[in-house]
C-alpha cells in the first residue's frame, strides 16, 4: 500500500500543501459554481459521480495536507480540528458543502425573495415567504378571537405580570415574600377577571373567544405553576410509609402517565360534563387547565422522585438526628437539594408542557398553532401553511429557548460546588 499511495511527508511540505490546496480549491470551486452560477463543471461524468466529485477531490486534497507537526500553525490547527482522519475529512467537507448549498436558498426564502409589503395574498410574488400573511393575521395570532376593542385588557394583564416579576428582582428581601404570595395567589384571580370580564363594567368575553399566543401563555403559566406543587406532593406520597397514601399516589401517577394528553383533553371537554348534575357548568378552559395540570403533575412527580432517590441516606439521618420531623426535614433539607438536582428534568417537563398546549384544539380552543391552522384554511389565504407554521415554530422556539436559558442560569446560581 505504502508504495502505491503517495505518503505526504514533511520534507516536501510545500509541494504537498500546494497540491492538496489546489485539489480542495477545485472541490470548493465546483460547489460554488454549482450553487451560485448554475454551472455543472463535472457534467461530463456520470451523474452520481458528478454529484460526489467535489467531495472526492476535496478529500484527496485534505489527505495530502494531513502532515503532522508541520510547523505551520494554521495547518496544524486545521489538521487537528477538522482533518484528523479520512472520515473526519469527509465529514468536514459534507458539512461545509451542505452549508454552502442550503443556507443561501433558505435565506432567500426567508428574507431576500420574501414579501413584506401589502395587505392581501396577491401582493405576494410567490418566490419566497409571504410574510404579509403573518402581518395581516398577527392580531389574531396574538389575541385569538378576542374583540379588538377589549384587547387592552389582555395587554394590561400581561404588562402587570411582567411589572410584578420585574419588581421581584429589585425589591428588598423582606417584601419579596409578600410579592411572591401576591403573584401566586392574588394576581391570577385579578388577571383572569380582567381578561374574562363580566364585572366592574368590563364586557364579558367568553373563553371560547380567547386564543392565540396570549392563550398559550395563560394555559402554560397556570399549568406550570399548579403542576409543580401537586407533583411534589405526589412524589413525596409515592415514597410515603403509609400504604393508603403510597398506593393512591402510585395509582394517580400511573393512570395519568398512561393516557395520551389528547385523550385526557377530549374526556375533560366531552365526557366530564356528562357526570355533572344538570345545570352545573364548569368552563371549558378551566376543565382543560385542570386536565393539563394533573397530566403534567404526574410527570413532574416522577422527575422529582428521581431527585429524592438520588439523595444519600445520611441527609435524612442528619436531619432526623437534629430533631426535625417529616415536613421540616423535607422542606428544609431534602427537597431543596432534590429539586436542585432535577432542574434539567423539571425544565424538560415544563418545555414539553408549553409545546403540548396546541393540543387544546381538540376541545375547540385555539392558541397560537391553532390560530395558524385556522388562518391557513381561510379561502383568501390558502397555501400559506408554510409561513404560518414557520412563524408559530419560531415563536415556540423563542419561548422554549428562553426557558431553557433561565433553567441553566438557575442551575449555575444555585450551585454550591467549588
Amino acid at each position: 500500500m505504502k508504495n502505491i499511495l503517495i505518503k505526504p511527508s514533511k520534507e516536501h511540505l510545500s509541494n504537498f500543501v500546494s497540491l492538496g490546496g489546489f485539489l480542495i480549491f477545485i472541490g470548493f470551486f465546483d460547489v460554488l459554481a454549482n450553487t451560485f452560477l448554475d454551472l455543472n463543471l463535472t457534467g461530463f461524468l456520470p451523474s452520481k459521480l458528478s454529484y460526489l466529485a467535489p467531495l472526492i477531490i476535496g478529500t484527496i486534497g485534505l489527505y495530502f495536507i494531513r502532515i503532522e507537526f508541520s510547523g505551520n500553525k494554521l495547518l496544524d490547527k486545521i489538521n487537528t480540528n477538522f482533518n484528523s482522519s479520512n472520515l473526519n475529512a469527509v465529514l468536514t467537507l459534507i458539512v461545509i458543502f451542505s452549508l454552502i448549498k442550503y443556507i443561501p436558498p433558505l435565506l432567500n426564502w426567508f428574507i431576500f425573495d420574501a414579501n413584506f409589503a401589502g395587505n392581501v395574498k396577491e401582493d405576494c410574488t410567490g418566490d419566497g415567504a409571504c410574510w404579509v400573511f403573518v402581518k395581516v393575521w398577527f392580531n389574531r395570532f396574538v389575541y385569538g378571537m378576542y374583540p379588538d376593542a377589549e384587547q387592552w385588557r389582555i395587554n394590561s394583564a400581561f404588562i402587570m405580570l411582567f411589572a410584578l416579576v420585574g419588581a421581584s428582582f429589585f425589591v428588598p428581601l423582606k417584601f419579596k415574600k409578600y410579592l411572591l404570595i401576591f403573584l401566586l395567589f392574588i394576581y391570577p384571580i385579578i388577571g383572569l377577571k380582567l381578561i374574562s370580564g363580566g364585572d366592574f363594567g368590563l364586557k364579558y368575553v367568553e373563553t371560547g373567544a380567547w386564543g392565540g399566543l396570549s392563550l398559550t401563555f395563560i394555559v402554560s403559566a397556570f399549568a406550570l405553576i399548579l403542576c409543580f406543587p401537586i407533583g411534589m406532593f405526589l412524589a413525596l406520597g409515592r415514597r410515603s410509609n403509609l400504604p393508603a397514601i403510597r398506593y393512591t399516589s402510585i395509582g394517580f401517577i400511573e393512570l395519568w402517565r398512561g393516557v395520551p394528553l389528547i385523550t385526557v383533553l377530549f374526556m375533560s371537554a366531552v365526557m366530564f360534563p356528562m357526570f355533572l348534575p344538570d345545570g352545573t357548568y364548569v368552563d371549558k378552559l378551566i376543565r382543560v387547565l385542570i386536565a393539563i395540570t394533573l397530566f403534567e403533575a404526574a410527570y413532574m412527580a416522577e422527575v422529582i422522585r428521581g431527585g429524592l432517590q438520588a439523595l444519600p441516606k445520611g441527609q435524612y439521618e442528619a436531619a432526623k438526628s437534629l430533631g426535625m420531623g417529616y415536613w421540616r426535614m423535607h422542606f428544609l433539607i431534602i427537597l431543596p437539594q432534590a429539586l436542585k438536582l432535577v432542574i434539567p428534568g423539571i425544565a424538560n417537563t415544563f418545555l414539553a408542557l408549553v409545546k403540548d398546549t396546541p393540543l387544546i384544539f381538540v376541545v375547540g380552543l385555539l392558541e397560537l398553532a391553532g390560530m395558524v391552522n385556522l388562518a391557513k384554511t381561510n379561502p383568501k389565504w390558502l397555501g400559506m401553511a408554510m409561513e404560518g407554521y414557520v412563524f408559530a415554530g419560531l415563536v415556540f422556539w423563542v419561548i422554549c429557548y428562553a426557558m431553557s436559558r433561565y433553567s441553566q442560569n438557575l442551575e449555575k446560581k444555585l450551585s454550591t460546588e467549588r
Partner: protein, 243 residues
Amino acid sequence: MGKIIELKNVNKWFDKFQALKDVNLEVNQQEKIVICGPSGSGKSTLIRCINRLEEHQEGEIIVDGKEISENTKDIEKIRAEVGMVFQQFNLFPHLSILDNCTLAPIWVKKMPKKQAEEVAMKNLERVQIADQAKKFPGQLSGGQQQRCALARALCMEPKIMLFDEPTSALDPEMIKEVLDAMVDLAKAGMTMIVVTHEMGFAKEVADNMIFMDEGRIVEKAKTKDFFNNPKSDRTKLFLSQIL
C-alpha cells in the same frame, strides 16, 4: 449524678440477622463511654438505636426518663436532646456552614435568628472554624467538615452526644484536629458515647470501655482495667491486633 440512658435486654434484627443480642447498658450523666469492636459487631447499631435512627424490636431503651418505642409520640423532642456526629459528616451541602448550624435551632427550637447565629458562631469558634462560616461544606477539608458537624450538633445544646466512628473517613493528619475538639468537649462535661478505633483518645477521655462482638457486649470495664488486664480472650485478641 443520675443515669441518663438505660438499655434493658435490647434485641434488634435486620430481617433474619440479629444485630443486637440482649444488650444492657447504663450511662450516667457526664459519663464518657467508648465502644470498640470488630466491624459488624453492632457498635453503630447500638448508638443509632439510642436516637431511634434504627428501631429495636425487643427490650427497653430509656433516654432522659422517656422510653423510646414505636409509641413514642415526640421522638423529635428526644432527638433534639441527643446530638449525633456521623462517619460521613452528613453536612447539608446546599447551606453555608453557618446556616448548617443555625437551621435546626431556628426551626426546631424556635430560636430567634440573631440568637441562633450567636450560638452558632460560639460553637464554630469552639471547634476553631469560625473563619469558615460563610463557606459551603464542599469548600472545606474533611477535618473541617467533621468539626462543623460537631458544632452543628452542639448548637442544639444536647444533653448527650453520640459519635459514630467520627474519624474513620478522614485523612490521618486530620484525625487529630477532630479528636482535639472532642477532648475539649469531654472536658467540658458532656455525656458522650463514642464508637471509635482511636485507642489513644479512649485512654485519654473514656470513663468506661465497652467491647462488642457479634451483637453482644462482651466486656464492660473501667478504662484502665480494660487496657491493662482485659478479662475475656476475645477482648485480648482484639486489643493485641489493634494496639
